[in-house]
């Protein structure tokens, strides 16, 4: 059963209890458990995190005295840039502020019973995505890789070259087979010689693809629309 560490930060006890109760309900219906720690102020939460506490998810009220949720989220992002933060508030006009601190979700308190399920489903999917691994039999040996670390795969003669950060690994396999294996995990064949992890694509325009590593690839006209669609769906969370 999956277990998640959740921090709930709200200056109102009844609101903390509400989130807690919803987590328990969710856990019962989705076969997972939540280890919950509660905080009544943003500054205490920030201190805990700066001292090394690492949760899987943080529920953070925006309207708190002393340190509001937006300020707390900014401080937390400085220490944990990737932890999912769910901002909770009575006022929907904070949505823009929530985006500025890269909140995973922005939920209105009155709607929590209805929206928390979608929120947790999304966050769990994101967490699972980041931890996906596979073992490959490379020329360099059997190596277990996080799929998110693979930037792209390139054909070089009869060998497929995996570009993983600053490293490269070679495998004797057809690129079609590599494509079929990686397609369910957000990879797309953009060229007869390239399979790319859509996570690293920053822009697609005028038959060219730009990766966050600085690499540019050309996309043939017959693949262009399909690649654009796959990229859009990947970013929308459908792939």
């Amino acid at each position: 059963m999956e277990n998640y560490t959740v921090f709930i930060c709200d200056d109102k006890v009844k609101d903390r209890n509400k989130v807690n109760k919803l987590l328990v309900q969710y856990g019962t219906t989705h076969s997972c458990t939540f280890e919950v720690a509660e905080y009544s102020s943003g500054d205490v939460l920030v201190c805990e995190i700066k001292e090394g506490q690492v949760p899987d998810i943080i529920f953070l009220d925006i309207n708190m005295e002393k340190m509001d949720g937006i300020k707390a989220a900014k401080e937390i992002r400085g220490v944990l840039p990737d932890v999912p933060i769910v901002l909770v508030t009575a006022y929907i006009n904070y949505a823009l502020e929530g985006y500025k601190v890269k909140a995973s979700r922005f939920l209105v308190k009155d709607d929590l019973e209805d929206t928390v399920t979608e929120c947790l489903d999304s966050i769990r999917t994101e967490i699972k995505k980041e931890s996906r691994e596979r073992e490959f039999s490379f020329v360099e040996g059997k190596i277990r890789l996080k799929l998110d670390d693979i930037i792209y795969v390139e054909t070089n003669a009869h060998v497929q070259v995996f570009h993983v950060g600053d490293f490269t690994y070679r495998i004797y396999k057809k690129l079609e087979d590599v494509e079929n294996e990686l397609a369910p995990y957000g990879f797309a064949r953009v060229h007869k010689s390239f399979v790319v992890n859509l996570k690293y694509v920053t822009k697609i325009s005028s038959y060219r693809m730009y990766l966050s590593t600085g690499k540019e690839l050309s996309i043939p006209r017959d693949r262009y629309n399909e690649v654009k669609s796959r990229h859009a769906l990947y970013k929308g969370g459908s792939l």
């Binding site: 009575a90 006022y91 929907i92 006009n93 949505a95 823009l96 929530g98 985006y99 500025k100 909140a103 979700r105 922005f106 939920l107 009155d110 709607d111 209805d114 929206t115 399920t117 979608e118 929120c119 999304s122 920053t202 822009k203 697609i204 325009s205 005028s206 038959y207 006209r221 629309n225 654009k228 669609s229 796959r230 990229h231 859009a232 769906l233 970013k235 929308g236 969370g237 459908s238 792939l239």
Partner: protein
């Protein structure tokens, strides 16, 4: 040498005409005229010269080359490329044959007299080019052949196919030496009928396009009306609230007068929070997007549908008001409509909306639950529950494609997602 130069001239005129005709139906995939014309010229020239190797089979070769050319250069399907390429070449054949039969009917020696043959060889493609130019003049904006589905094409193929059969018969009569004047006049009549049919085809396509544009405008007007109605409801609600607040302020006054300041303070705090919640609205720093999002948020809320927003600063997106309304209204209306069915079934429904603008790229994602998976093919919903929703998504796609953006749909058993990405 003269023969070769004449052939080059004829092929060049036909190339120009084909390019104009293709442009009447399709958008080029970014290939400029100085790329298209030389390629088409080479193909036509190769086709013309192939007669010395494969005789009349050159017709099949030219057709195949034209279809591949059209599919490569223009935004078209194989079927559309085949239809229009066939059209192009058929009219070349009909025009050539017509001039030949007319000249024969008028008493010219079209078999032995080289000067007659040369004049006819040039007159025919020139006439063809003039006809195509006339159609271009009549239909300057004609670019939407895709509006026809498979069955709607059938009526427009009947006349050309019958005409082709008739012309082949007449041509055969001509070759056998049994051609009569009356048959020449019949050839003219058939040609005019084909021109009329071509005019009707283009007119029908234009009318369909006008209907589509009208539907977009109607959509836009409906959205604006909905917005005004929504504003009216907001004003009425605020009016009622003001009336309530007046009563509540009077209650606070009584509490303060009676010395119960703690209760009065508690009362004031509750009132302040209630006003803040009531006044809160989604803000993206873009007034048009704010108006649409908030209107849809209230509409959804009134129907028991929740919405989750992830929004960034959208003040710098370079879409005109009408395009913003088309994209946001259509996508959210579709989502709300589907969620209404889910809520009616006694279930919860939540729409997720993410609208952000970063590094010059606008991204919009709308996700909603579904009653059942919908079939998606070629970026379109195949099983649209009502006609209106199919048109709405088509309108959104048109706006996105105008900016060379990405528009994608996906659906599984649980949820439907639309993704839009536009780089500015």
């Amino acid at each position: 040498m003269m023969k070769f130069l004449l052939s080059v001239l004829i092929v060049f005129i036909e190339t120009y005409s084909f390019d104009l005709l293709y442009g009447l139906f399709f958008n080029s995939k970014g290939f400029k005229w100085y790329v298209r014309i030389p390629i088409l010229f080479v193909l036509n020239m190769a086709g013309a010269l192939s007669m010395y190797l494969i005789g009349t089979w050159k017709i099949a070769l030219i057709l195949v080359m034209l279809i591949i050319y059209c599919k490569t250069i223009y935004d078209s399907s194989w079927w559309q490329s085949g239809f229009v390429s066939g059209f192009c070449y058929l009219y070349v054949f009909l025009t050539d044959s017509l001039f030949l039969m007319l000249a024969y009917t008028m008493g010219f020696d079209v078999v032995q007299d080289y000067s007659v043959i040369s004049v006819l060889s040039v007159l025919s493609p020139v006439a063809y080019a003039v006809i195509v130019l006339c159609f271009r003049k009549l239909f300057p904006q004609r670019k939407r052949i895709g509006l026809f589905d498979g069955k709607e094409w059938i009526p427009f193929t009947v006349i050309p196919v019958i005409s082709l059969a008739c012309y082949l018969y007449l041509y055969n009569e001509f070759l056998q030496g049994g051609f009569r004047k009356g048959q020449g006049y019949a050839a003219i009549v058939l040609y005019v009928i084909n021109l009329a049919m071509f005019y009707i085809l283009l007119r029908t396509l234009r009318d369909k396009e006008d209907l589509r544009v009208a539907s977009v405008k109607e959509n836009d007007i409906k959205s604006r009306l909905d917005y005004f109605h929504d504003m009216q409801k907001v004003y009425e609600r605020q009016g009622k609230k003001l009336h309530d607040y007046k009563n509540q302020l009077q209650t606070m006054q009584e509490l303060i007068k009676s010395g119960d300041t703690d209760k009065a303070l508690h009362f004031a705090e509750g009132l302040t929070e209630s006003i803040s919640v009531e006044m809160s609205a989604v803000n993206t720093n873009n007034s048009v997007i704010n108006a649409v999002l908030n209107q849809k948020y209230r509409t959804a809320g009134s129907r028991g549908i929740k919405m989750i927003f992830t929004v960034g600063d959208l003040s710098r997106i370079r879409l005109i008001e009408e395009e913003i309304v088309i994209i946001f209204s259509n996508l959210l209306d579709n989502a709300i409509h589907e969620c209404e069915r889910i809520v009616a079934g006694g279930n919860k429904a939540v729409i997720s909306v993410k609208a952000v603008f970063e590094d010059g790229q606008f991204e919009l994602y709308v996700k909603n639950p579904v009653m059942a998976r919908v079939e998606i093919s070629d970026g379109q919903v195949v099983t649209a529950v009502e006609e209106g929703h199919g048109i709405g998504l088509t309108n959104v796609r048109d706006v996105v494609e105008k900016y060379d953006g990405s528009f994608a749909l996906a659906c599984d058993d649980k949820e439907f997602i639309v993704a839009v990405i536009i780089s500015f």
